[in-house]
C-alpha cells in the first residue's frame, strides 16, 4: 500500500480520503491555562503520522485527547465512525512514561500477555502472539525477566511489544524511541515501518526528532503557538520503501527536514 499517494494532499482541512480518525474543533485547557485550540485533521487508514512540536506545546495532551484517555474541553474525536470518550478497542498506546507503564510484578511476557488475557484470547494463542511481538523488538531472550531488570530502552521495547501484540488498528506512541541508542532507534524505526506494512496498522507518533519524523511519516503534523494549533500538516513525498541511508541522503529529505525545522522553530 502506498498510502502517501492515496492521501489527498490538497485538502485544506487536513483531510484524508479514508480516515480512521477524524478530529473536529479540538481544544483543551488545564484550568485557566489554554493548551490546545481549534485542531481539525484526519488520520488516514494505514497512515503514519508524526506529531512534532517544542517541549510543553501540548503533544501529550493531544494524544491523550485523541485516544479517549482525556476528555477534551472542546471538539470531538471520531474513531472508525464512532465518537469516543474512552479509549476505543482497536487502539494501542505506548506511553511517554514507559518505566511507569509496565507492571513491576509481572514478567516481560506477563506484561505483554495481560491485555490479551483480558481480551479473552486462548492461552496458546496469546502466548504465541506475545512471543512474536517480543521477538520483533528483539527481546526473545528476556521474556522471563522483570521490567526493573532491564535498561530503559529495553523497557520501552516491552511497551512497544505490548502495543503490537494487541493487534490494534491504530497505534499511538508518545516519544517511543527517546531513550534508546542510535542503532536501536534506527532498528525500531524500521521495525515500525515493517510492521505497519505487514499489518496495515495506522501509526500516530510523537517525536522530538525531526529526522525521525520526516523519515517515518506520510504526513508530519507540526504543532505550535500558545494555545497550540496546527502549524502545518506537511505531506512527506519521499518514495517508499524508506531506507535509513538512502532515504536520508535524498535532497528532498533535506528540504523537508529544514522545512519542519523552520516550522517548529518559528513559534
Amino acid at each position: 500500500m502506498k498510502t502517501q499517494t492515496t492521501l489527498d494532499k490538497g485538502q485544506p482541512d487536513g483531510g484524508a480520503s479514508d480516515p480512521i480518525m477524524r478530529i473536529r474543533g479540538l481544544g483543551h485547557s488545564y484550568g485557566e491555562r489554554r493548551v490546545l485550540e481549534g485542531l481539525d485533521f484526519e488520520v488516514g487508514r494505514g497512515e503514519l503520522m508524526c506529531v512534532v512540536g517544542p517541549s510543553g506545546v501540548g503533544k501529550t495532551t493531544l494524544l491523550e485527547c485523541l485516544t479517549g484517555l482525556r476528555r477534551p474541553g472542546e471538539g470531538e474525536v471520531v474513531f472508525d465512525g464512532q465518537r469516543i470518550d474512552a479509549p476505543p478497542r482497536g487502539l494501542a498506546i505506548v506511553f511517554q512514561d514507559y518505566s511507569r507503564s509496565l507492571m513491576p510484578w509481572l514478567s516481560v511476557l506477563g506484561n505483554v500477555v495481560l491485555p490479551l488475557r483480558s481480551a479473552g484470547l486462548a492461552k496458546a494463542e496469546r502466548e504465541r502472539t506475545a512471543l512474536e511481538a517480543l521477538a520483533e523488538v528483539g527481546l526473545s531472550d528476556f521474556t522471563g525477566h522483570y521490567p526493573w531488570q532491564l535498561s530503559g530502552g529495553m523497557q520501552q521495547r516491552v511497551a512497544i511489544a505490548r502495543a503490537l501484540a494487541y493487534r490494534p488498528a491504530v497505534v499511538v506512541m508518545d516519544e517511543p524511541f527517546a531513550s534508546v541508542d542510535a542503532q536501536t532507534r534506527a532498528d525500531l524505526e524500521d521495525l515500525l515501518l515493517r510492521v505497519r506494512e505487514h499489518l496495515g496498522i495506522t501509526v500516530l507518533l510523537v517525536t522530538h526528532d525531526i529526522d525521525e519524523a520526516v523519515y517515518l511519516s506520510d504526513r508530519v503534523l507540526a504543532l505550535g503557538g500558545k494555545p497550540a494549533g496546527i502549524r502545518e500538516l506537511l505531506t512527506v513525498d519521499l518514495p517508499a520503501p524508506r531506507e535509513q541511508v538512502s532515504t536520508k541522503a535524498l535532497p528532498r529529505f533535506a528540504e523537508l527536514r529544514s522545512q519542519v525545522y523552520r516550522l517548529i522553530r518559528d513559534v
Binding site: L69, M103, R162
Partner: protein, 293 residues
C-alpha cells in the same frame, strides 16, 4: 536497645536495612582481607554478642540480683526445659498466639474495608486524618477498665483490645495505599481494556500491597502485645496470665522463662513477616535490591 536491633539481624539483612548490611561489610573487610565468608563471620559475631549478654546476666544474678532471687542463665535454662516438658506451657502459648491471630484477623476484616472507603475519596481521607491520628495515639490499654466491666476476664476482652489497637495501622495504611495506585498504571489498564478482575488482581492489589503490608506488620506486633497484656492485666488464660501468676508467687525463674517466651514469639513473628515480604513483594524496590544483586 539490643533487643530491637537483633530482630532484623537474626533474620538476615531485612528490607530497608541496607544501612546495617553496608555497615557490617566494610568492618568485616577491614579486619581480615576476605578469608572467611561474611555470613560465617556475622554468625560468629552474633553468637559472641549473645555470649557476652549471658555472661553479664550471670554476673548480675550472682551479684546485685542475688538478694531478689534473680535466676542465673543455667537455672533459667533448666526451668525452661522443665516447663517445655509440660503440656500447660505449650497450650498457654497456643492460647496467646490464637488470640493474637484472631484479633489480627478481626483488625484486618474491619480495617481493610474501612481503609478502602476512606482512601477512595481524597476529601474523606483528609477529613478523617485527625480522627485516625487520634485513634492511633490513644493507648488501647487505657480502655482496659471499661472493657473489663463489659467483657470480664475472657478472651473477648483480648480480642476487643487487639481490635481497637491494631485496626488503626491497617486502616491508615490501606487508605494511604489507595492513593498510591499509580495513575499511569490506571491509564494502562484503561487503554488496554483490562477486565475488572485483572485490574484488581494485577494492578490494584499489587500496587496497594506494599503499603497494606506495612500496616499488617505493625498490626501483628500490636496483636501479640495486646493479647499477652490483656491476659496479664485482665486475667484470662494464656502466656500473660501464667506470667502474672508466677510473679504473684515470686517464682522469678518461671516469670523469666515466660517473659523470654513472649519476646521469642515477637522475634518469630518478625521473622515470619520478613520471609513473607520476600515472598510476596519480591518485585518491590525495598526487597529486590538485596534479593537480585
Amino acid at each position: 536497645m539490643t533487643g530491637a536491633k537483633t530482630g532484623p539481624d537474626v533474620t538476615g539483612t531485612g528490607p530497608g536495612r541496607a544501612g546495617t548490611g553496608a555497615r557490617t561489610a566494610p568492618a568485616a573487610a577491614g579486619t581480615e582481607p576476605g578469608a572467611v565468608p561474611t555470613g560465617v563471620r556475622r554468625l560468629v559475631n552474633r553468637l559472641l554478642a549473645i555470649l557476652v549478654a549471658l555472661v553479664v546476666w550471670h554476673l548480675f544474678a550472682l551479684g546485685p540480683g542475688a538478694s531478689s532471687d534473680f535466676p542465673t542463665p543455667p537455672e533459667s535454662f533448666r526451668t525452661a526445659v522443665d516447663l517445655a516438658g509440660t503440656g500447660a506451657y505449650w497450650s498457654n502459648i497456643a492460647t496467646s498466639v490464637e488470640t493474637a491471630l484472631l484479633g489480627l484477623g478481626l483488625a484486618v476484616l474491619v480495617g481493610v474495608p474501612v481503609g478502602l472507603l476512606i482512601g477512595a475519596d481524597e476529601r474523606v481521607r483528609r477529613s478523617t486524618q485527625l480522627l485516625l491520628d487520634f485513634g492511633r495515639t490513644v493507648p488501647a490499654i487505657a480502655l482496659l477498665p471499661l472493657l473489663l466491666l463489659l467483657f470480664g476476664a475472657t478472651r473477648d476482652l483480648g480480642l476487643v483490645l487487639i481490635l481497637v489497637s491494631a485496626v488503626w495501622p491497617v486502616v491508615i495504611q490501606t487508605s494511604y495505599a489507595v492513593g498510591e495506585i499509580s495513575p499511569q498504571l490506571r491509564r494502562v489498564g484503561r487503554a488496554y481494556h483490562l477486565t475488572r478482575w485483572h485490574l484488581l488482581r494485577h494492578l490494584i492489589a499489587p500496587s496497594m500491597f506494599p503499603f497494606v503490608f506495612v500496616g499488617l506488620r505493625i498490626a501483628a506486633t500490636l496483636s501479640l502485645l495486646m493479647a499477652i497484656s490483656s491476659e496479664f492485666l485482665g486475667g484470662s488464660d494464656g502466656l500473660g496470665y501464667v506470667l502474672l501468676q508466677a510473679m504473684q508467687i515470686n517464682d522469678t525463674g518461671r516469670a523469666f522463662v515466660y517473659s523470654f517466651t513472649a519476646a521469642f514469639l515477637g522475634l518469630l513473628l518478625n521473622l515470619v513477616f520478613v520471609l513473607l515480604q520476600r515472598r510476596v513483594l519480591w518485585w518491590h524496590p525495598s526487597v529486590r535490591k538485596g534479593g537480585t544483586a
